[in-house]
């Protein structure tokens, strides 16, 4: 359970640093965000939702059955598009409107 931050996609805005409830994210020498303690990630995905560039990917560790798929988020006003990339490369998008309550 952890995240990977793409050095190419990260613009160094620093918003994810403030979103991490464990203060696990820091800047590298180039000013880009990285996770200093990957094993200490809770999996809350707060950082994914802060990132306007979809630079942060969330995945399940192999120890908890992860198969190599990952998740990232695209924000669009009141909608969050949760992009799930399956191990075979197929993408699934689940869109959630912030103004709609859960059915369950």
């Amino acid at each position: 359970m952890s995240i990977r931050i793409s050095k190419q996609a990260c613009t160094g805005c620093g918003k994810c640093l403030d979103a991490c409830p464990g203060s696990l994210l820091y800047r590298d020498e180039a000013g880009k965000a990285y996770i200093r303690y990957p094993q200490d990630c809770w999996g809350c995905t707060s950082c994914l939702k802060e990132c306007a560039h979809g630079a942060i990917k969330f995945y399940l560790g192999a120890d908890i059955g992860g198969l190599g798929g990952y998740l990232y988020v695209k924000r669009e006003r009141d909608r969050l598009h949760w992009m799930i990339c399956k191990p075979d490369g197929e993408q699934v998008c689940i869109t959630i409107n912030r103004w709609q309550a859960n059915q369950y």
């Binding site: 359970m1 952890s2 403030d18 979103a19 991490c20 409830p21 464990g22 203060s23 200093r36 303690y37 990957p38 094993q39 200490d40 990630c41 809770w42 999996g43 809350c44 995905t45 707060s46 969330f58 995945y59 399940l60 560790g61 192999a62 120890d63 908890i64 059955g65 992860g66 198969l67 190599g68 798929g69 990952y70 998740l71 969050l80 949760w82 799930i84 399956k86 191990p87 699934v92 689940i94 959630i96 912030r98 103004w99 709609q100 309550a101 859960n102 059915q103 369950y104």
Partner: protein, 566 residues
């Protein structure tokens, strides 16, 4: 260590200091700001935007008085679920405020589902449906709208400033700059949350922090109170959660939402075999079925409609995205595959079980000037989010009344300097043999094996607890030789030391309750039965001169107005 790091002292003054800007802390700050023009300071070790238990969101409000229910019926439910050992006065005072604080959360922007008549839609007898993904940013934004609330993000508080048995502030350090804070306040509200990471977790390797409870809630508030001599209650009532295997995601959404029953590996429904389906029994029954070789146990979701499945995908993205990722990554959603269950490692958390500070009805602790709210406050289980709001409000109102006419205490420079020296010791000199990670792993193993963790089937006995006590004491000794190279490592040292203090108190409480009151939460093989004659009481404790004293107290009923006496 290359070069000794020094911290610069920063002395701050405020009227009310709130330690921890999570659910209860933010709500307490808002209450203060709305009722008075006093200065409020929130000290938060991360950033209040997403800190605390609500980082990922929450999928429902699970403490609400729905149509046909009353605060009395809520109290009845909590009393039965906890085998009677609750502070009825505290639970009732929370129940009376649940709906009012919910309306306040809605006014902040929380989306709550309503029917055609504008009434909230219930999900069960005590729950309402929401979109809680952004509940924490909403709370943080509400805090930000008040000029008299100052927020110190990335500041980790470590101990109270105490003078003549009165709490007059607290010490902490920044995670961002080399600053040591001494914050003087007329009153302090502790809202740091409970303690995870005491026991070896379900997945101790790479995914060691894939916990249900926040791994960043490290028992700091309990530990600060213990060290200052505050009375603690019911620390033996651990909370074990029934969760989705591997992802440790909540199960209530599936169980309540789509009405999925628990079945064992033979496909049999097993819960009723073990008596009343209380919170503890749902886990106990699952553990016992597995021990008897009838696992794995599941929530039987196979056959639910595709529409239901899609709604579950969304509901989990709003609180525990790992579960949705797992379903989709495997191509096996809940409509085609049952959801496997497991019990978590035990947590100490006063919002679900009853562990925490022993407080009076105003949430005043036994130390003057110190109040407690949320998961760190004891006596009232099943608070959940709205109960933490309610308790934050009660504590804030009491703290406001307390500071009337109260002056800031004067504190000598020497006292502050001594504390700073103590902190700087961890930044200077040669490190001992062990790293903080090794101490943490050792602690979790001791608690797992000897104090009723997962591998022990959650069961304790006196002989094992005595071993646990000795080994944790040795780890406390070893922790003194830990050294930090930077501020994050200093945080890690304080976190493990705080956890060790909490472990010691948990062990003493488990030793003191010589009965079995709650399956899995507190189950003693030497005393397998409930013993109302001797233990229909609270087990409380106080740390004095390096020793933990146990105090048994009589049950406080609904309409008693409990005040601290001795």
């Amino acid at each position: 260590m290359e070069q000794a790091m020094n911290l610069e002292l920063n002395l701050l003054e405020t009227d009310i200091l709130i330690i921890g800007g999570g659910t209860a802390g933010c709500f307490a700050a808002l209450t203060c700001a709305e009722h008075a023009s006093c200065k409020v300071l929130i000290a938060e070790k991360a950033n209040i935007k997403r800190s605390g238990c609500l980082a990922a969101g929450v999928n429902a409000l699970n403490a609400y008085i729905v149509a046909g229910e009353t605060p009395e019926s809520y109290l009845d439910y909590v009393r039965k679920d906890s085998a009677g050992v609750i502070r009825e006065d505290l639970v009732y005072s929370i129940a009376q405020r649940l709906n009012q604080v919910t309306r306040k959360a809605e006014a902040m922007g929380l989306v709550i589902q309503k029917d055609a008549d504008g009434a909230y839609v219930a999900r069960g007898r005590r729950n309402i449906k929401i979109n809680g993904e952004n509940i924490k940013p909403l709370l943080a934004a509400a805090v930000g709208r008040h000029d008299n609330i100052q927020v110190l993000n990335r500041v980790n508080m470590i101990d109270y400033l105490v003078q003549d048995n009165r709490v007059i502030g607290a010490y902490g350090f920044s995670l961002a700059d080399n600053i040591f804070y001494a914050i003087l306040a007329k009153a302090v509200i502790c809202a740091t949350g409970g303690a995870a990471g005491l026991y070896r977790p379900n997945n101790p390797g790479f995914s060691r922090h894939k916990l249900w409870y926040s791994p960043f809630n490290t028992g700091a508030g309990y530990a600060m109170g213990i060290r200052a001599g505050a009375e603690m209650t019911t620390m033996e009532m651990r909370f074990v959660a029934l969760r989705c295997k591997d992802t440790i995601a909540p199960t209530g959404t599936i169980a309540q939402g789509v009405g999925a029953p628990q079945i064992n590996g033979h496909g049999e429904s097993y819960e009723r075999k073990y008596g009343i389906p209380s919170t503890a029994n749902r886990i106990y029954s699952t553990v016992r079925e597995n021990q008897a070789g009838r696992g794995p146990c599941y929530l039987a979701t196979k056959g639910i409609s595709k529409e239901m499945e899609e709604e579950l995908f969304k509901a989990y993205l709003n609180m525990a995205p790992a579960q949705t990722l797992r379903w989709i990554e495997r191509g096996l959603g809940p409509s085609v595959d049952n959801v496997e269950l497991e019990g978590t490692e035990p947590y100490i958390v006063g919002g679900h079980a009853a562990s925490g500070y022993w407080v009076d009805r105003h949430r005043a602790t036994t130390l003057a000037g110190l109040y407690a709210a949320g998961d760190v406050a004891g006596g009232s289980p099943q608070k959940y989010v709205t109960g933490c709001f309610a308790e934050g409000e009660i504590a804030a109102l009491a703290a406001l009344a307390y500071i009337e006419g109260q002056e800031l205490a004067a504190v000598g420079h020497a006292q502050i300097r001594r504390k700073l020296d103590e902190v700087e010791q961890f930044l200077q000199g040669p490190a001992g043999l062990y790293r903080v990670e090794e101490i943490e792993e050792a602690m979790q193993k001791v608690m797992d094996v000897y104090a009723g963790g997962i591998s022990a089937g959650y069961v304790v006995n006196s002989a094992k607890l005595v071993t646990a006590k000795q080994r944790i004491e040795s780890l406390v000794e070893l922790s003194r030789a830990l050294r930090a190279n930077d501020l994050h490592e200093l945080l890690q040292i304080y976190e493990v030391i705080d956890r060790l203090y909490v472990c010691q108190v948990v062990i003493e409480h488990l030793l003191a309750r010589k009965e079995t009151r709650w399956p899995c939460f507190q189950e003693n093989a030497d005393y397998p039965d409930k013993d109302d004659e001797h233990y229909f009481k609270y087990v409380n404790s106080r740390y004095r001169d390096g020793k933990i004293e146990i105090i048994l107290r009589e049950i406080v009923k609904k309409d008693e107005h409990y005040e601290h006496q001795d």
